[in-house]
């Protein structure tokens, strides 16, 4: 789970391995906000699979790669 300058850097780093999921850093920032924003809340409750999948879906991270199970 890394940051890269460009697709070319990702391809070179993969070195023949199958690519995973690539998203813009702006989307990552949104994802982090939704995923982590409540973690210090006094009334924090563990996220369920369904809640976490809903976050991914809401941000358009759909398809088999982003399915949590």
């Amino acid at each position: 789970m890394n940051l890269f300058r460009s697709e070319e850097h990702i391809e070179r780093w993969l070195d023949g391995r199958a690519p995973g999921g690539t998203i813009p850093v702006t989307k990552l920032a949104e994802l982090a906000e939704e995923w982590w924003g409540d973690r210090l809340a006094p009334d924090w409750r563990p996220h369920t699979f369904e809640q976490n999948q809903a976050i991914l879906d809401r941000l358009g991270l759909t398809g088999g790669f982003w399915r949590l199970r």
């Binding site: 789970m1 850097h9 996220h47 991914l56 949590l68």
Partner: protein, 158 residues
């Protein structure tokens, strides 16, 4: 990477959740992972209770331990050990477990911050500012190698 509460949640009760919340609060207060002794002092629990609670939370993927000690390895998004994802936020330096968690440190603290890492391909330093949850360099890409369904197969690798 984020926590998926997909572990053994059956063994975790409300008391464990409160214990988890106290552990996170102490992590932020100290700026690092608390030891068993520190967590015991903070919560008023015995050290054995801390260890048992942390183990249940580890099994539930609510935090990640280095076993068998046990010592905290990850209180996601924070890393208890140095990594290549450095974050300065809320007046402190932190380590995150990955790029996702680096943004997560700012999100969880509700703070602007600066993220420093390196391109794993060429090694060039990547430095970006996060202001109001937005990166100042929008050209960067995030790549996740492991499919979501397998993130917790080996969370340290993920």
């Amino acid at each position: 990477m984020g926590e998926v509460f997909g572990g053994d949640t059956a063994a975790v009760d409300q008391a464990d959740i409160e214990f988890r919340n106290a552990t996170y609060a102490l992590f932020v207060e100290l700026g690092r992972a608390p030891t068993v002794k520190e967590a015991a002092g903070f919560t008023g629990a015995a050290q054995g209770e801390v260890e048992e609670g942390w183990r249940r939370l580890h099994e539930a993927h609510a935090l990640v331990l280095d076993l068998p000690e046990p010592a905290i390895r990850m209180a996601n998004p924070f890393s208890a050990v140095p990594t290549s994802f450095r974050v300065n936020a809320a007046g402190r330096d932190w380590y995150a477990n990955c790029a996702w968690d680096a943004f997560g440190v700012c999100a969880v603290l509700g703070a602007d911050g600066r993220i420093e890492t390196n391109c794993p391909d060429c090694g060039e330093e990547i430095r970006l500012e996060v202001r109001r949850s937005r990166p100042d360099d929008e050209s960067l890409l995030f790549h996740c190698l492991v499919p979501a369904a397998h993130w917790w197969d080996d969370i340290v690798f993920t």
